[in-house]
Amino acid sequence: MQKLPLDGARVVDFTAIWHGPHLSQWLGVMGAEIIKIESSLHPDITRSRFVFGKERAGLNLSVDFAALNYGKKDVTLNMAQPKARELAREIVKISDIVADNFGGGVMERWGLGYPDLKKLKPDIIVYSGSGYGRTGPYKDLPAFASVVEAFTGLHSITGHVGGEPAQMASHAWDDLVAAQHGVFAILAALYHRSKTGEGQYIDLSMSEAGAAFLAEPIMDYTMNGRVAGRVGNRDNIMAPHGCYRCRGQDKWVAIAVSNEEEWIAFCKAIGNPEWTKEERFGNELSRWKNQEKLDKLIGEWTINYDHYEVMERLQKAGIMAGASLDMEELAHDPHLKERDFFVEMEHPEMGRLSLPGLPWRLSNTPKGNYQCPPLLGEHNDYVFGELLGLSKEEVRQLKEEKVIY
């Protein structure tokens, strides 16, 4: 078995909330040593996000934090204090990557802008993520994923036919799209550095990373001046293509038919009802044009069956179908279970955690560094004592002075 790909690399991780921590979490799982910098005065806000009415007494009990911060070590540094910034600089000197996703100017104010960091370590790779980028008229605007998504046009094309604009799926889409693009850019920078010894500065704008997925509507506008509408679960080409109600409470199945062969198989699989022989459903183009009626009729069939049953029956017949899973079903999905997608961790305060792991597998690499999400300041003694070589007394003193705090 090989070592983990980023074994030996170290990251000074100033990121917080969602976009940045997601990025540094993947670097950590891939083997880099992540030193997450928080402070007792400013812990990552996800530590205090409570859930469904249950207020969390401690800063080490949040699922929101846990889902985005495993694989990391954690220190507390009160960055308002010059001594704390000096310690941060010492950590940078022995690291390979520095990452942040602050609103504008924070790193520079701390004397940790790219030019400063380059002086400390010439080949340092610096990643700075933000809503709109570190340059331009919007560079200092406060941003969250939902707002950035509206800006790039995502809301305008998300939603049901005839409905209002809608959010895209769960949690923080653009945060995580940007995070993955960011990890890719960092790995590319590491590759470049391994060949040339050169580091560099990566300025990632969530709006730009998100817009990279929107080539279709963007190019329809730049080529044809046309603005796309909302299509729900429909497709520009395929019909039937939608989500249909099944037996039970709020249970649904997604079905897509891409050609005549699949259509014939589909009709057979649902028992060749009379309506499938109607002329208006007799060819691909006509089915697309009559999909509203088509969807209704299909829904009258699916309503009688459990959604897994529909998926299995149609897949057996060679048709694209998938049960629309809720969170409980996702957690119990037999396919994800067999692939060990969920990773188990033991957390000293939260107990057993079961969270999604890396969405890819490497055939000759160990599973990944899934150390449990860190307690606030858990690794102060390790980082300042062992890594930086301060004595126990020095560390104790710095804690008392609220530098390590």
Partner: protein, 405 residues
Amino acid sequence: MNVGALSGLKVVEYSQFISGPYCAKLLADLGAEVVKVEKPGFGDKARSFGPFPRDIPHPEKSGLFLYLNTNKLGVTLNVESATGMKVFKELVKWADVLVENNSPREMKRLGLDYESLHKVNPRLVVTSITPFGQTGPYRDNKACDLIGFHVSGMAYLNPVDGVEDIEQQPPLKGAAHAGDFMAGLSGAVGTMSAVIAQQTTGLGQHVDLSEQEALASITRYEVGIFTHEGLPWERQRGGRGPETSIVPCQDGYAVINATGEGFWTNLVKMMGNPDWTKNELFQDPFYRRQNSDAIRLMVGEWSKERTTEEVKYAAQANRVPAMPVYTAKEAVNSEQLAAREFFVEINHKEAGRIKYPGAPYKLSGTPWSVHCSAPLLGEHNEGVYCGMLGYTRQDLTKMRGLGVI
């Protein structure tokens, strides 16, 4: 000659439509040498997908194909023929990486499963991007972007916004082909991790990317709530993050996200301290999160008196994270994206000059760049087969006659 971060990395792409090509595009746009292998005749099926200029379909003018295949060399090859398979293996021997998005069954049938490829080139990293991965009970299931969104739980988590009858609305897939893009992006990250490992060990491995997992990964917080707290995420919750409001304006909609005390205070000030915000209940952030629907309605009373631009300027002046729900038109004409030079004009032999989305990130030392537009079908047959593999032009003529290229 361009020096990209990935200069020197040699990639063969045997994929089509979106996920595989986007993965390979990310590598190509940062300087990797990518040879894209297409079937003779029709080529990549994305060539048949719009948008097309003036809606006139043309295999060399698909906006989707043009965007996804920048910076790649294009060859045609029929790997079902014996000569074609021999040539393919020569390309595999040349390459550091193979990116493919064919079904596991198909690759096995062709004799191009990982074990076989590894024998041809033990150094080779093989990235396989599929709907459900290489293993598990669903691995042979047929799927498309719609299916991926639903079986990953992402569709279920789409908040049921802006519709009259919540009960009637199915879970919603993401916009355009967001799922396929996400699979490609995640595949690229997995690929780079294996490439970095390859630099140390000299050995390749199989990168197994499942689109279901790439998307399920984004549900991490919501599924974590279930696995840890046993609480299902209710679909009929209204706005996605409780703090996010999609509000009506005179001429459209805006998205306002006032998470945190600071931004809430600014929001209240922006609206001129309306009476409802003085209510004791709304001072409690926990209460605000539980009553996001009410907040959205009340903020809507303020926003509906204003245009989207007025809301945008008020938000900027008061430091409230907010943006109008823009379409591709506003995004393409955005002053911020213009200042960032995000959109790039690329000239293509057949399609002419068109504006494309550009760099998802800005690297200071080795910037993203386009040195050639998407290839015409088989455009680089001579350059690759003669120039790189040593075939003669007479060989090519024979191969064309035999249906090999």
